[in-house]
Every structure is written in structure tokens, then in C-alpha cells.
């Protein structure tokens, strides 16, 4: 409630309110520097708050850090694996940090290795793993204490498309098993795939909240027509097509026409005698929501 975080003069998180229900997949969506990671760190009790109230699993992170972290799985943005230990030992040693008994941790580590599809890398050195493998190992490690909630900071940033899909599949399974997922992302598709509910964060504030589909319904049209006229002509063409659709958004490389019926908008553009170089009708995404709310695109 009214959560704030200040670093000197810089306010990273500027009074945000949110509540995450058990078992849901909750997302913080926003561009880099919006304050997502800082919020995550405060939830994880690895960062103190400057103002406001925060209760995590019924505890105050200020005074009950170890109790809270005992029940969380934390997957930081940059993989922080123990490079001096082998893959399997990363899991076992991490489990011991939670004070879990060694025989249990050994057994659980084997299962998690399977979950992370890393069985054949059991004895491998961590620095030789691919980006996707490292991320899966980090997630498996975060599961060693059977956490009530997983905190995932930008879980697929920097991964190739295939690795991302493997990871989404794993996270989806966790969600099905009832683990609460809290994630930050600046990828629309990720938020749409994984989140039941999300908040859009910009400059340390929450600008919208809801399920991905509700947000799209509320802030955008069903479909979007994307037309390109060449970077020098976009502005000019946008003036010519004014009035078509609900709203028009001019980006440096293309013009977006918001209309529930994209094909109809397309015909209307042609009727005005304009011939775009390329055109595309697609469904609205959270990217459009973000653009609408902040006037900027997410990945700049």
C-alpha cells in the first residue's frame, strides 16, 4: 500500500498499491527502468522500502526477511548461479541454505533436474551451460524449497525464441500445480501468455490494472491495422487517413490504426487512394495498451 522506494533523489517506485492472490500469476509490465525490479526486490525482502506498507505472506519484510524468503523462490534478472559448483550441487547447496535436510535435498534436486530438462548436464560446469539452460537451472533452484510463490524478474529476457517457449512451458506447469507466480516483463507476449492479472507500470507508478484481455478491451480496439508508408511519409499519410478507425498512432516506422474491424479500416485507407508499402491486420496486444497509456512503446 503506497509503496515507495527512493535512492537519494531518485524515486524508483512512487507509491504503488497492489494485492496478489494465492495461486495467481501476477505480472508487472513496463519498460526498463519503470521500477519493476525494485518492487520485486522489496517483495523478496532483499530491499527495504522508503515509505508505505507491505505485507508478504503475512509478514513484514523489514523485520522478517528470512521467514519470508524461506517461502519464496527468487529468480533474479541476471542468472546468479554458483559457478564454483556443478549443476547438481547448485541445487543441493542452495537447498541447504534453506536449512532443509541433506537426504531430502538430494532427492528433490534430482527431480528438479528432470523438471528443468537438465538431467544430462547433471555433472556439468555451470559456465558451460547455454542461456536457456542457466535460466532453467535458476528456476529449478528457486523451487528447491517448494515455495508458496515464485518471483521471476524478466524470466526470458535475452533468450532465443525456442528457449523462451521451453521456459514458458515450465512456468505454465508450475502455475497449473498451483504455485503463485509473480513476474516482471517488458514483453507483451510473455505477459499475455503467463499472467492472469497484471499491472502496467511506468515511471514508478501503476497506470492500469486488469487481466490481459480486459486491459486490451478497455484501452484498445479488437484489431489493429499497421501500415507503412516509408519513414519520411508516415506523418503525411497519417493526416490523410485521419478519421478512419477509433484512433491513429504514428510511430517512427509505421502508422497504427485502431479499429475493431481491421480489414474495413484497410479498405477505407485504400479508398482514400493511399498505397502503403506494407500493411498488416493483427489483434490488439498489450503493446497497444501500453502505447495508449503512456504514449511510448515498451521496447524502445
Amino acid at each position: 500500500m503506497g509503496l515507495r522506494k527512493q535512492y537519494g533523489d531518485f524515486t524508483a517506485v512512487d507509491g504503488i498499491d497492489f494485492a496478489i492472490e494465492p495461486g495467481e500469476a501476477f505480472g508487472f509490465l513496463g519498460p526498463n527502468g519503470a521500477g519493476k525490479s525494485t518492487t520485486m526486490r522489496m517483495i523478496a525482502a532483499t530491499s527495504t522500502r522508503s515509505d508505505g506498507r507491505l505485507s508478504v505472506l503475512g509478514f513484514d519484510p523489514e523485520s522478517h526477511g528470512p521467514e519470508i524468503r524461506a517461502q519464496l523462490g527468487i529468480v533474479p534478472q541476471a542468472d546468479q548461479l554458483d559457478e564454483e559448483l556443478r549443476v547438481i550441487d547448485n541445487l543441493i547447496v542452495y537447498g541447504r541454505y534453506f536449512g532443509l535436510p541433506l537426504p531430502y535435498v538430494k532427492r528433490r534436486a534430482e527431480e528438479l533436474l528432470e523438471f528443468a530438462q537438465l538431467v544430462e548436464k547433471r555433472k556439468a560446469r555451470v559456465d558451460g551451460l547455454s542461456g536457456g539452460m542457466k535460466r532453467r537451472l535458476t528456476i529449478a533452484r528457486g523451487l528447491i524449497n517448494s515455495p508458496k510463490a515464485m518471483l521471476l524478474d524478466e524470466p526470458t529476457t535475452g533468450l532465443d525464441p525456442q528457449a523462451r517457449h521451453v521456459l514458458w512451458d515450465r512456468l505454465f506447469r508450475l502455475k497449473e500445480e498451483g504455485t503463485t507466480l509473480v513476474l516482471t516483463t517488458h514483453y507483451m507476449d510473455e505477459a499475455e501468455q503467463l499472467c492472469d492479472r497484471l499491472v502496467v507500470v511506468d515511471k514508478g507508478r501503476i497506470v492500469a490494472e486488469g487481466s490481459p484481455s480486459a486491459l486490451i478491451r478497455q484501452y484498445s480496439t479488437r484489431e489493429v491495422l499497421e501500415v507503412r508508408f516509408g519513414s519520411s511519409r508516415n506523418e503525411e499519410a497519417a493526416r490523410a487517413i485521419e478519421g478512419i478507425g477509433d484512433r491513429i498512432e504514428v510511430l517512427p516506422d509505421r502508422v497504427l490504426v485502431y479499429d475493431d474491424d481491421g480489414e474495413a479500416a484497410m479498405s477505407a485507407v485504400h479508398e482514400r487512394g493511399l498505397q502503403p508499402i506494407t500493411s498488416l491486420v493483427r489483434r490488439s496486444s498489450l503493446e497497444d495498451v501500453f502505447l495508449r497509456l503512456t504514449g511510448r512503446s515498451l521496447v524502445e
Binding site: T46, T48, A70, P76, E83, G99, L100, P101, Y104, S146
Partner: protein, 278 residues
Amino acid sequence: MTELKPYELLEAPAPRIRGPLRGLYAGNTRSVVARGLQVIAKNNWIVVMTGFFEPVFYLLSMGLGLGALIGSVSFYGADVPYAAYIAPALMAVSAMNGAVYDSTMNVFFKMNFANLYQQMLSTSLGPLDVALGEILLALFRGLLYASGFMVVTTLLGLNLSWTAILAIPAALVIAFAFASFGMAVTSYMKTFQHLDYVYFVMMPMFLLSATFFPIEVYPQGVQWVIQAMPLWHGVDMIRQLTTGLIQPSIGIHLLYFGVMIVLGLWFTTARLKSLFLR
């Protein structure tokens, strides 16, 4: 993935620490030490061993070589052969080196490059668990060096009394104090160049703390400065034990290190908290 689990999944036990340490300590220092020992056992044996030889070479060159020219030195009214005079000092240096190498270089790397402490503090461990665990590891290295050195001096017949055996626990105390302080100091370092400052302080301390000659050769003012330094207390304490010339001042030495340990631990915990839990 609805496979039947043949056993119950365990949640991490909630730390049961009350009072002022709550939030800082989870009572699980063991796991930090275990991780360190596992890494040493698998990777770092040779690195660990190199630090041991430095004082041994000093002992051989100065104690045996120079000692033949010097004869004996007076210590609390008794004449002590030169090699037996410097051996305990080198043992104190050895404990100091082990602890300082570990708590500066190794800790610096883990803190700034391996992100190890961030990882540990993402679990139910508290900063005091981490600080204490890492300090105990540094202390373990100090213990290894000191015990190894003890073997060498015993073989050379440089331990003049049975009380020499107490020099090992004494060396542990010295290592503990240096390690807990070293880790706190390391937490301020941002580049490898900063590590050089540590050696800039340790080198003169090593040479001047009554290691190779009694401090009575200095003017009174300089003596006070040296007596304020931790190594002098370590040297004098171990020398009293190996020569058997035990003085009441040994209590002051122990008190000095006790205070240093407590301050260092408190300092390191506070630093870890402000670095990683801010």
C-alpha cells in the same frame, strides 16, 4: 506433470531466531561453511597451500640463517635462541595471512564477481549467517596455516614449552579477529587496486610488530603505536605460549582480540545488510 510423488514435499523450515538478531540471523551458518569446504575440497587446494610457505621460508632464511649470527634474544628476562624467538611471531603472521587472504581476495571475488552473497541472501539465510560462515572459512585457512607451521617448528625443536600446544587455539583467535575485520573492510572495496591498500598496511605491520626483534629498540611513542596494532598482540601472545614465559598480559591480548572479533562481526553484518538488503 501429475506424477505421483513418493514422498511429501518439504517447505523450508522457518528460522526460529528471536530478539535483536531476528531478520539478520537464521541459525544456519553451517550451510555456508559446508559450501565453502566443498569448493575448497574440489578446486582450491593448491591456492590454499601456497600461502602456507611464505612464513616457512622466512623461518628458514632468517631464523636459521640469520639466527646463527645473532645467537639469542632476551624475552621477558630470559634468553631465547633467535629461531625460537621469531618462530612464534611467524606463526601469528601465518594465522593472520590465512585469514586475511581469505577474507579479502576471496571475499572480494565472491562479493563483486560471483554474486555469491546475493544468492545466499535470496534464501532464508540472513546476513549474519553469511558473515559468520565466510569468517569461519577464513579462520579455517588460518588454522591450517598455523597447524602446518606448528609441525615445522616442532620438527625444528623451536617450541620450548608444553604450553606451545595452546598456540594453536591462540592462532585461531588471531585468525578469527583478522577475518571478521578483513571481511568488513573488503565490503568497501570496489576495484582490485583497493586490495593493495590491505597489503600496504599488512607489510609494515608484519615487519615491525616485534616479529624479528624486540620493540624496545623503538622510542616510546613508536612502541605505543605498534602496541595498538593487532599483530603485536598476536605475536606477543603466541611467543609467551611457545616459550612458556607466560605473563599476565596474555589476558589483555585475548581481550583485545575478543573486542576485535565482536566489532568485526557486527561491522560485517551491517555492511552485508546495507550492500545486499538495502
